[in-house]
């Protein structure tokens, strides 16, 4: 059975290959609808370590794969926003009212009103940093090495091909049984992807 760490990594789409260097089975489906149904069926069959690859996001795939709403990115974004706001507030207050107060036309050293624009800008800026960093972190990107890149057909995943990848790290994975299941689901082409061991995952 996969360990907790392996399960967490699988949520990011990072799977470990098995003792025979088998990374998983890569099945190609003819269209988005077939891929959606295949993902649903694979999940109902009890598989958890699997992923679909398509040139664009497919409507309804998250539910089919049982992934639920992506709340993680939201937390990162919110954290970034709060950081930006606090940074802007403290920066303007500390520099103008504490570290080097200068009297300009009798204005208060620090006031909220003229500080609003920069507070707003930095809140948005840091929230955007949070959104992008959170997205990358939760996706395990950048990830230069991926055994799927050994497959020539897989290059089409960014063009017009639709793939279902069942990872060998799934407790239920069995090369023959899984291949038979994928065949039944209407896969157009199935191949075994091996992690040739030239790098770690």
């Amino acid at each position: 059975m996969p360990t907790l760490i392996q399960n967490l990594k699988a949520r990011l789409g990072i799977f470990e290959s098995d003792a025979d260097q088998v990374y998983g089975l890569l099945a190609e489906f003819p269209d988005p609808g077939a891929l959606l149904h295949a993902a649903e069926a694979v999940r109902e069959d009890g598989y958890r370590h699997f992923d679909t690859h398509s040139p664009f996001p497919i409507h309804g795939m998250d539910e089919a794969m049982g992934l639920g709403n992506a709340v993680g990115v939201g937390f990162f974004t919110f954290g970034g926003g709060v950081t930006g706001f606090a940074a802007a507030y403290l920066l303007q207050w500390w520099t103008a009212a504490v570290d080097y107060p200068i009297n300009i036309s009798g204005k208060p050293f620090f006031a909220v009103e003229p500080s609003v624009p920069i507070m707003f800008e930095l809140t948005v800026l840091f929230a955007a940093f949070g959104a992008v960093a959170g997205m990358l972190a939760l996706n395990g990107l950048p990830r230069p090495y991926n055994p799927l890149f050994y497959s020539d057909r897989f290059r089409g995943a960014s063009d017009d091909r639709f793939f279902l990848h069942v990872a060998a790290s799934d407790g239920q994975f069995d090369v023959e049984d899984t291949a038979a299941l994928l065949q039944r689901l209407g896969a157009r082409h199935i191949e075994l992807v091996k992690d040739d061991g030239s790098a770690d995952v």
Partner: protein, 508 residues
Amino acid sequence: METSEKQLPADPSEPPPVGEGEPDRDRLVRGHLSFHDVTEMVSRHAEKKAPMAWYVAFAVAFSGTLLLLALFAYVVWNGIGVWGNNQPVGWGWPIVNFVFWVGIGHAGTLISAILYLFRQHWRTAINRAAEAMTLFAVVCALIWPTFHVGRLWAIYWTLPIPNQMAMWPQFKSPLLWDVFAVSSYFIVSLLFWYVGLVPDLATLRDRAKNFWRQRILAFFSLGWTGSNRHWRNYEKAYLLLAGLATPLVLSVHSVVSFDFAVSVLPGWHTTIFPPYFVAGAIFSGFAMVVTLMVITREVYGLKNLITIDHLEKMNIIILVTGSIVGFAYITEFFMAWYSQVEYEQYAFLNRAFGPYAWAYWIMMTCNLITPQLFWFKRLRRSVPVMFALSIVVNIGMWFERFVITITSLHRDFLPSSWGYFTATWVDIGTLVGSFGLFLTLFLLFLRFVPMVAMSEVKGVMPQADPHFHEHEGNGHVEGDGEPYITPAEPALVKAYRAGGTEDEETSA
């Protein structure tokens, strides 16, 4: 490049090949393209040699860039007096140009963020190029204040960096707000653009034949595999970025307008400046997008993706924002009269009938009157008309900034210090040069980066819907709140496929 030479429909804005009366109005992508056709249409321009027109345009644009560099060196060497800036007009063309360029830089993020939130699927065809245009326009904007400070080597004083003087920037100054607003806007726009670009860079990576090309693209595409586990977070992040960029885009030109509105100068000290500036920014930005898209779709054969309907929609936005701007001009006059402030009233009468009346009436004509031609559907859908009008709009918007900046300054409270501002050859040369820089960057973008967001366009095609192949439609009925996509005509699709080659399905 030996890619599959599939026959693509020649002029796709035309109805599809087999007899069909009316082109399908609901369809965003014309000509019954497959996903691969979209990849091919867009990627090939980043892969093969550029057309001759590109080299000619690049030579011209790059000369402009060199001119700009040389003249900025001249400005730094001699001081900013070589521009026409003097007392009483201390903010000459550099600030006019800054506001002009930053205004143009509003359309891209508006298209990518606001139209995304409003579920305007037509944006997918133009958002990539518009966002790129935004970034380059903001670069062109930032150079002006950078050199206008005169002492370039002290520009870092605008940032809160600890230094040996123990001084900090003056955070109560709108000019400093500007530094933060414009640079935040640039960074967020860049992130937004790059995030959108990752899946398309992966497409180019997977198509790359050359070893180094593949490595470089692999680096920038971050190992993207189109995994649904990734798409899920990606789409969420994209939505959040759109939500963040929306108030940001509205705030940037508001903050720029504070440079004027927070002062006490008649003609500047007005509360309508923020919304008026934002509308003007969108107006000029969309005009620039139309100018560039009309040329791009023609030269690169992208009429399938950037259809006449897309251009028409942009023209409608130009009409709306142009009318808002025109309304603001009239409101300013009303407020001057209604305020009963003598100086305010004089400032506006002087604008319309004083020594700069010529500039004022150019502005009025170009921004308020000519865009009204877009009320006519025939003119709105005519490519030559929209091309001409989009250029007229940007001339008008440059003059708007000229009128606001120069006319309010040239006659201040003391008649003894009144003067007339005249531009120098350096002013003209640097403005021309900034267009050179803008076009250089845009041409490099067209050459090396997929100019249409392929993954997004594929996502709005009817066959992208998982139910398409079951119901021959997208599974939604009209009026259930979801976008309804009319079913494809199977016979037509088949006819089109038969006309193509059989390079698909060679290996079963």
